[in-house]
Symmetry: C2
């Protein structure tokens, strides 16, 4: 079975793209990835997307995006797992190339939220929760984050202000990323003054949804080495699920799927958390960043927030996270987010992160979560 | 690279399931497939579904169905390609097992249309077309079928009544399938009396949408032989796309994606159309049956309809199609249809089709199309 490497990456910036349709967003990222790989065709396409059916009345994105991107005729499909759709699409592409039936696979994560009609955005986002047992009771995506944060504060005896470090770090990194949605630095003392969105989640705890697309191209590692100067190997790839509803979890502060997928991905790559140089995690809410660090072996239970307090998550810290701003400042283009994470890890390993570079980064990890961690996809990357 | 075989199959009947939710439908089919394979767990789940987000406010079906079906924790994802979602999900499972990273994969195609709220069904179905260039102009799923049928009639000089044989055959086979949506036989003389749905497509040309679920379980062929008495090998698997919009095709009467995927799947299996004993094709409209037969090498261009006229598509004909009623009489549960097709071919090869048995069936093919053939997935099956 072949190893798999990334030979091309591309992305749009994340913002309100009032003037750009979903097919254009996908195409811009694909064009950049094809240029980066210096190729003009691929064998198959995996589109990570959650909301196009509900927000754009557009399903069947595989055929649409292939056609519009000048790749008419290739195998193409949409992969959906709520806000883990992008990571799940990367996972399908890895399986496809490893199968030997597909030589070169393209993944594009794309989401278009601004200026769309159809279902209201918060209702569409809530379709990632259990419709019959959560959403119908009024629970929203942000409300679920609030339940987790409240419980974390209660159980671990921490306060709202203790989460500030995650947002301050994300905004610091976003400030130097020209593709980020928010490029303003956040002063720690401003954090506690933010308006509440869903108590205790404030505007500075919650990542903003945005429009955008990111793409990667992968092929067998031995082939990749002949094609590009710096192929990035996908050394570990794992996906897992947890209960759909929070109410079914024995312990809502343990992200079982994240733990499962992270440990298996690291085992495949033959590394421990200590050897990971940066970690693009799913900071949809500050509490999710803390829980992901704990689930993935970077902190003990209840202590993830301390990494932020102690400055360990910065670009020169023990475990840099959200190095381009994360979901919080780069923005959260839902079904595209997981592909953005992989692109950013690849940029770091290729030494192309510019002002956001983690010095000497040789091993990186990306973890994409669906809603409250009902789905988790983890990839470990290193230079081939 | 391992070959892949089916070790379990299951399905619900197709009808208006007023009393059954989408998770229950999926579970019933999964339970039947697990029982058939005599196993209780699998490594990953691929859900074929198109409409749950729009009709049931429920995305994230991978995690939901895994959880509800007693498979909590496994890798799980939704695969979407309009009404080819089921076939596309089978394709992803095949790639997953062939990759060596997944040992046993479960596929469930599921769709729930009856009694759902949200987007009107015809608008949701139209999301499989190009939203910006087709659906927004008022084109519907059925309207697209009507355009194809009208052009076929014009170019090949045939009349509405010449399509009757497809529906008569489908209803004859549906009549003896206890799981079919329509179990009434159709008299040829009644065909021309049917009310129009979208001129020239009548009620008897168009397949009815219905609720239902079908499931298969696959693993490596060498392992399958030790597990079940009659594993069915997936000897060929291919997927392709065409232009999204009909207006972009140089020749709308040639299903390029169907032709591409069928020829590659047959090549992988090392067979020619003459060696295929039955063909579960995508008869969403009678004209689609004719076009699929032509694209897949069973008839010359413009002559597919003659196979129906001449009785060649019956259970004892040259190329039996829609052997359990097809989309027309078994019913078309959109995102589940492609999995129903594969289950039905497996039943034929295992000699378990009862009154619908094609005598001596050794090699079967299933072809699932997205809308007007913008996506096509073809699988060739034989006893392992």
């Amino acid at each position: 079975m072949s190893n798999v490497s990334i030979i091309g990456i591309g992305k749009t910036n994340v913002r309100e793209h009032w003037d750009t349709s979903i097919r254009h967003l996908a195409w811009y990222a694909i064009e950049a990835a094809l240029d980066d790989a210096a190729i003009s065709k691929v064998d198959s396409l995996y589109v990570g997307n959650m909301l196009a059916g509900q927000l754009s009345n557009q399903n069947h994105l595989g055929a649409l995006v292939a056609d519009f991107s000048g790749l008419r005729g290739i195998e193409a499909v949409t992969v959906e797992a709520a806000d883990a759709s992008g990571g799940a699409a990367v996972r399908q592409a890895v399986l496809a190339v490893k199968s030997g039936l597909v030589e070169t696979a393209l993944v594009v994560g794309v989401e278009k939220i601004t200026d769309e009609t159809g279902t209201p955005v918060n209702a569409a986002l809530a379709s990632g929760l259990d419709a019959d047992f959560e959403a119908i009771q009024g629970l929203t995506y942000i409300g679920a984050g609030a339940l987790l944060m409240r419980r974390y504060m209660f159980e671990h005896n921490v306060e709202v202000a203790d989460f500030a470090g995650f947002s301050v770090n994300a905004h610091a990194n976003g400030a130097s990323n020209p593709m980020a949605m928010f490029r303003n630095r956040l002063k720690p003392e401003r954090f506690a003054m933010a308006p509440l969105v869903a108590d205790p989640v404030s505007l500075f705890d919650a990542a903003p949804t945005g429009d955008g697309a990111a793409a990667i191209i992968i092929t067998r590692t031995e082939r990749a080495r002949d094609m590009v100067p710096q192929p990035v190997e996908i050394a570990g790839s794992a996906m897992a699920t947890d209960t759909m509803g929070l109410h079914d979890r024995k312990d809502i502060l343990r992200l079982a799927a994240a733990a499962n997928s992270a440990s298996r991905a690291m085992e495949q790559a033959g590394v421990t958390p200590e050897e990971i140089d940066l970690f693009e995690l799913h900071d949809s809410f500050t509490v999710m960043a803390a829980l992901s660090l704990e689930a993935s072996g970077f902190a003990e239970r209840g202590q993830g927030w301390q990494l932020a307090r102690d400055g360990e998550i910065g670009l020169d810290g023990r475990i840099p996270i959200s190095t381009f701003g994360g979901l919080k400042a780069r923005g959260n283009p839902i079904g595209a987010t997981g592909v953005f994470q992989v692109v950013e890890v690849a940029q770091q390993l290729r030494g192309q992160a510019e002002a956001n570079q983690v010095d000497g980064a040789k091993m990186g990890m990306a973890q994409n979560l669906g809603t409250t961690g009902a789905t988790a996809v983890t990839h470990v990357l290193r230079l081939s």
